[in-house]
Each structure stands twice: as structure tokens, then as C-alpha cells.
């Protein structure tokens, strides 16, 4: 009985919360069309790299590998994509290079933590430091994208008031982020890959006894997650702006970590969390000079809320149980 009640309640929440938010957004829209639209668009613009970064973390942690090197992965990708595009005069080559850079950093993390069983935290720290070093050492000013990334208006959908402009009048990477989140959510909870991924992150020896190659799967997942971090970095230097500057990730990789936790390691909730913080940011700049709240409080909101979530809801919101622990065959239980 209790199970049924919980089930219904959970589904009510899952459907009801976005619905309420949507209603609120449209109420706002009818009050002030331009401000509502621009703020929502701004929120999503801000949220895209966070979604991609946080999803990188989700895949890694769901598989049992902690990734605190997302910041470095993004930075390297931003660097590689921008300068490749500038050098080859090809956007496609740039995007490919950015994604490849993310994947390469992912492969590095996978190799050090899964294969070499190095401490995952140290590996992440190393990635961040190396990324800062490489990108500033090889940085040369004066490079320029051949053309800007295209803005796509998705047919039909982009005509929807509010939502259309927010989500469907964007560049390819933002659209990719919009698309990949539900796809990943589905994959994580409704496919063979997802079931196995969750199993190796929660209880690797159970997966091992069921005949799943835990370490190979972790390796592949961390490498694949690099695609998302790569896309996030590429978004920063090629889509959100058309330039690279040193340290331009500006802590977004760490913010992504917070969002991953706040989103309870679930892709769709990650999107919601990223949008929430994006909207808080948009609201803060919109209210600048109108209401006198210190801007800084808005910036540190995600971190404080994440700490609060961890402290208060420690029992309910929890990380995959086996994350951070290398899997050694035959020692598991």
C-alpha cells in the first residue's frame, strides 16, 4: 500500500512541479512578454554549459568515477575548439576538436582512475591544473573564428511563445544539450546501458557476478562523458561567445558539480537545477539597481543550497554508493 501511495506521489511531483513552473512562467509572460522571454532565454543561455558539465559528472559518478576535473575538461575543449576552428577555418573541425579534447581528457581520467587506479580526486585536480597550464601556455591572441556558429530556428517549435525563443532559437550545441538531457535520462533509467551503469556505480561486485565487465564499462562511460564536457567547452568559446580567453570557464565546472548534486544525479533534474540557477542569475541582473540585494548572494546561492541539500537530505539525496572506489575483481562485496 505504502508503495502505491509513494509511487503516485512521486509521479505527481515529477509531472506537477514542471507544470507549476510552466504555469508560473506563462503568467509572468502575460505580465511582461519581453522581460519574461529575455530572462528565460538568458537562463537557458547560462544553463547550457552547466547542464552539459553536470551530465558529464552524472555519467561518471553513476558509473562510480568521481570527476572533479570537469572545469579542466571544459577549459581544454574551449581552447581546442576555438583554435582549431580558427586555424582550419572550419566550424565543424572546431567542434570536432573541442569534443575530441573533452574525450581525450575523459580518457585520461579513465586511464588514471580505472586502469591505473590512481586516486580520483588527485586525478581531477591534476586535470584542472594541467588544463590551466596548457591553455594559457599555448594561448595566442588574435585568432578568430572564420564565421559565427549558426543560430537555428527549429521549425514550428521556435514559434511557440516563450519556450520557442528560449529553447528553439539557439545554436547547435544548446539544442544538443536540450536533446541530450532527456535522451540520457531515458538511457540511464530505461535501457540496458543505464541499468548496467547504475549497477557498476552502486554495487560493482553485483554487476561483476552478473557477468558485466565493470572496469571496461567505467572506462568507456568516462570517455563518452568527455563528449559532453567537450561540448560544454566548445559552447563557451564558439557558441556563447566567439573567442577564447584564459580561464574563461570561470568556475563553471565546479558549479556544474553543485548542480549535479542538486539535481540528484538525474539528468532531467539536472536540467531543472541548472535552469533554476540560471533564472536566479537572470533575475539578479534584472533587479540590479531596482532592488538592493547584494549580487554576491545570488552567485553563491547554488553552493549554499547544495551544502544544505547534502546536510539535510543526506539520507534521500545520495551519491552512487561505489563512487570513488576502484573496483578490483575478487575483492568486492
Amino acid at each position: 500500500m505504502a508503495g502505491i501511495v509513494t509511487w503516485q506521489f512521486r509521479h505527481l511531483l515529477a509531472i506537477g512541479t514542471p507544470l507549476l513552473i510552466l504555469i508560473a512562467a506563462y503568467l509572468f509572460y502575460f505580465v511582461d512578454q519581453t522581460v519574461a522571454t529575455s530572462m528565460c532565454a538568458n537562463a537557458w543561455f547560462f544553463a547550457v554549459p552547466l547542464v552539459l558539465g553536470a551530465l558529464t559528472g552524472v555519467i561518471g559518478e553513476r558509473s562510480g568515477v568521481v570527476n572533479i576535473g570537469i572545469e579542466g575538461q571544459m577549459l581544454t575543449a574551449a581552447f581546442a575548439s576555438f583554435f582549431t576552428a580558427a586555424a582550419t577555418k572550419s566550424l565543424v573541425a572546431g567542434v570536432a576538436a573541442g569534443i575530441l579534447a573533452g574525450v581525450a581528457m575523459g580518457a585520461f581520467l579513465a586511464w588514471t582512475t580505472v586502469t591505473a587506479r590512481m586516486d580520483q580526486i588527485i586525478a581531477g585536480v591534476a586535470i584542472n591544473i594541467v588544463a590551466t597550464g596548457i591553455t594559457s601556455f599555448f594561448y595566442k591572441s588574435g585568432a578568430q573564428l572564420p564565421v559565427n556558429m549558426p543560430q537555428w530556428n527549429v521549425p514550428v517549435l521556435s514559434k511557440i511563445p516563450l519556450i520557442g525563443e528560449t529553447f528553439f532559437q539557439t545554436g547547435p550545441i544548446a539544442l544538443f544539450a536540450l536533446l541530450i538531457a532527456p535522451v540520457l535520462h531515458f538511457a540511464m533509467f530505461r535501457t540496458r546501458w543505464g541499468l548496467r551503469t547504475r549497477a557498476i556505480g552502486e554495487y560493482p561486485s553485483a554487476a561483476d557476478t552478473a557477468g558485466i565487465n565493470v572496469n571496461r564499462m567505467r572506462f568507456v562511460n568516462v570517455v563518452l562523458a568527455g563528449i559532453l564536457a567537450g561540448a560544454a567547452g566548445t559552447y563557451l568559446s564558439m557558441e556563447a561567445t566567439s573567442s577564447f580567453s584564459r580561464g574563461m570557464t570561470a568556475g563553471r565546472g565546479f558549479l556544474a558539480l553543485a548542480i549535479m548534486i542538486f539535481g540528484a544525479w538525474r539528468p532531467l533534474r539536472v536540467v531543472a537545477a541548472a535552469l533554476f540557477f540560471g533564472f536566479a542569475n537572470a533575475l539578479a541582473s534584472q533587479l540590479q539597481g531596482v532592488v538592493d540585494i547584494p549580487q554576491q548572494f545570488v552567485t553563491l546561492l547554488p553552493y549554499v543550497l547544495t551544502l544544505a541539500v547534502l546536510a539535510i537530505a543526506a539520507g534521500r539525496v545520495r551519491a552512487p554508493a561505489a563512487e570513488g572506489v576502484p573496483f578490483i575483481k575478487g575483492e568486492g562485496q
Binding site: 508503495g3 540496458r192 548496467r196 553485483a206 561483476d208
Partner: protein, 534 residues
Amino acid sequence: MTQAESRPEAARGRPPSTEERVLELQGLSKSYGAVHANSDITLHIGRGEIVALLGENGAGKSTLVKQIFGLTRPDAGRIVIKGDSTPIKDPKDAIRRGIGMVHQHFQLVPVMTVAENLILGHEPVRGGIRLDLAAARMMVRELSEKHGLAVDPDARIEDLPVGAQQRVEILKALSHRVDLLILDEPTAVLTPQETDELLGVLSELAAAGTAIVFITHKLREVLAVADRVYVLRRGRVVGTVPTDETDAARLATMMVGHDVILRVDKKPSTPGKAVLSVRDLVVRDNRRLTAVDGFSIEVRAGEIVGIAGVEGNGQRELVEAIAGMRSPLSGTVRLGDRDITRFNAADTNAAGVGHIPEDRERHGIVASYSIADNLVLNCFDSEPYSRHWIRNISAIREHAIALRAEFDIRSASIDATAGSLSGGNKQKVVVAREMAARPRLLVAAQPTRGVDIGAIELIHRRIVEARDAGAAVLLVSAELDEVLSLADRVAVIHAGKVVAELPGDLVDRAEIGRLMAGERPGVPPTDHRSDGES
């Protein structure tokens, strides 16, 4: 399902069809470092046969079945499955070849549902992508009906009671075609009713032709369901016997062994006042089941009281409760006039209790510490080993030098790490530390497990000396010989209770065997183990 259908007796007397060997082990050996977990093990099992592997903890049972399931590789020897001696690569290979395993530590993902756990590794999909959970649920229901093991396919594992988790674990093993089912201590966590249910299922499976390897140290279960028993001690098969030709007492004796009878020279004891008084102690184990159930005992100064019993009858929890490492549910523990029931480990020690822990590697020593530091682990915070938070290195060293000589700890120096020592010398370090402060009460749990003869003699001698010096000693050991040769008084524990107290020198081994098996004169064998909640 009703109890009547699953009476273990119903299964007895099946003709074992041993002509077709499902599994054969030939000279299997496996070592971890210097420890020989399995030495030259040879055994076989036929279609429809239930074979029990009986042995104390650490006898090598789990290591053995891990090799059969492909979780580790043997160092030497062959595993032949249905005539095929190709080495087993990994669990996947084992599953493919018709082996199913129910693990001692459930191999279930706690946050996933029953159905999800059951399909892990061989998931049904629809349209090539989407997990077919409906099919999975169906499969669970079918399996569950077929084997009479009721589970809800949509329940999350972590929400289920242990018994239900066990059912899932069994169903998981049976979700493939299984010719050989291995169960590693499946009943350790079950209530008597659940145990009976399980034994019934096993009998039915065997009747349908499945070969079953069943690991346990509970004699009743062996007798109830198995056709044959292999008894393991210290990594070796010490005997195999059809269950028809044996009884609980004989099995108990085989298990605890009679290879070396160590004579300990000791004078008759002259007990003084009571030092330890345990009254109606109730302690739960890690799974929140009642392990110690109304235990009472008194140990007087100058006397060794031995606790004899088959492992898993509450000994560990009893010791931990007395030593302050586990909080009892009810009852009292008094040391002389002081109530130490709620003391933590440090306070208990300070009150004058020495504790030789059962798990030496885990609790007893810090492997990377020097011998000297290990020797003050229980008293580093008190004078003369420290003063005002500053450690007195010279006092610590003097202490170590003295104890090293006194307990004959064989090492290069007192600065050698404890991890570099042999098992016997490690144990000497632990014993030396716990006895150094001349405790009023010494609680010794398995004080000579995995230790060479020389060390055993020394440790026994020291324990007797401590007694003669007026200490009260509570000795818990799985080695019956150890208990019999050391104890002035023997208390037999079964299902968390004292079932009998006997004077140490007037013990008939067969009698003790029966008591350990849960029998009482005139009382038919029943399992009194209660589970507190059910």
C-alpha cells in the same frame, strides 16, 4: 506456501544419482600471500545431489566456491564441470556453463528493484533499446511461482527485509538454466521459518535434478537437507561422510577438530570473587537480528571460563558487547562492582579489561605501525606512555622491549612494522598488549586462530599464568580442544544462550558436541535461534 510442504524431512532419502558428475574438483589449491586458503581440495557432486561444505569461518569454504564461480582463479588443480575442464574465465562464463551462485554478501544493487536486479547482465529489451521491464516482472512472477519464493518485482531491494532479499538472490541465481547451484551461508541471516522454507526449496530443486553445494556451519541444516558432507578445516578437506551415517555431535567434533591435543600444565584453579557478571544480556548483530539472547555468566578471579559453541551462535556479539565495541539492547555487564554495560572501548579498557579481538588483522593491529606502537594501542593515552598529550617514546620503547622478550615476539626489532610479522607473532603482539597491564578481566576471542604451534603454546601458557596471578579469563574459541584444555569451567553457547555449564575437567566430548548442536538431554533438536522481529 505451507510449512508442511517444505518439511526438510520430505526430501530425505532420495536416491542420489551420482553417476553423472556435475562438478569435480581435482587438487584445487589457492593461496593469498602466505595463507593457504585451499590446499589440494578434491571433491565431486552429482546431478540432483545436495552436498554440504561444513567448516568454521576461515576454513576456506568461500574461497573454494569463488573459484568455482570464476571470481578468482585457482593456483593449482582443475575444476571440471560436466566433464569439461576448461578453466572458468569469469562469472559470465560460469553462468553460461550452468552455474548459479547465491552469495554470502548478497550481490544485489540496493537501490534497484527486484526485477531490475534479476535481469542485470541479461536484460530483455524491446525495440533493441528499451528495457522490457514488463517482461522482467513477468519473469520474476513466473520464477517466484515456480520455486515458491514470493517476492514483489517492483520492491526496491533496500526496502526489503533480509529474508526477502535472500529469496531474490536465489531467484537471481535460478533465472538462468542452472545445473549447479552454490549457496554460500544462505541461512546465516534467516529466521528459522525462512530457513525451513529455503531448505524445502533446495530439496525440490535437487529433486528436479539440480546439483547443490551448500555452505554452512549449522549442523541441523546439514543433517536436514544434505546427502553428503565435506568437512573443511584450515583449507583442507578433513573428511567426507554421507549424512545417513553421521549425527550432529560427530559432525561438530569433526569441524572443531581433534588433531593436536595440547596439554597445558596447569594447577587446579582457586577462584576468588566474581570479576565479570553478565546478566540477561541481549545484543543484536549488524543485521539487527538478536544474536545474544538473554546470556548470563559469571567469571571469577583466578578462573578461566571457556565458551564452547558452533560459530555464529552469538559469540562475536557477546565479546564485542563486553569489550565496549557494541552496545547491548538490554541486560547488564558488571566488572566487580562497576556497571560497565555502556562503556565504550577505551573506558572498558581503562576499567581493567583486556580484549584479544577475534579479527586480528582488522581490529587487533595497525599493520603499518611499528611493533612498539601496536603494543600501546590500548593505552597510548595514559601514563607513562604519554603525558599531557605528549608521547613518551622512551617509555613506549622500554615497554616494547620488555614485552618483546616476555612474549617472544620474533622480529628484527621493535621498530619493525606489525604487518611484516607472521600470523603467530602478530597475535603475540596483540596478546602481549592486552595482558601487559595485568587486566582484571581478559576476554580472549579465538586467541590462537591461524597461529603456529609454538605461538599457541606460548599464548596458552600466558593465559594460564594470568589466571594464576588472579585474573578472570573469558575464553571464546571455535577450537573445542583449546577450550577443553584451558578452561576451568565450560559454558556451552547455543543460539545466544548458555545451554549448559560444565566443570572443565569432567567433560565428555560427545556430550559437548550434542550440546553445541542444540540438543539437550531428552529434548529433540530444535533451533532456538530467535530473530527478535521476524
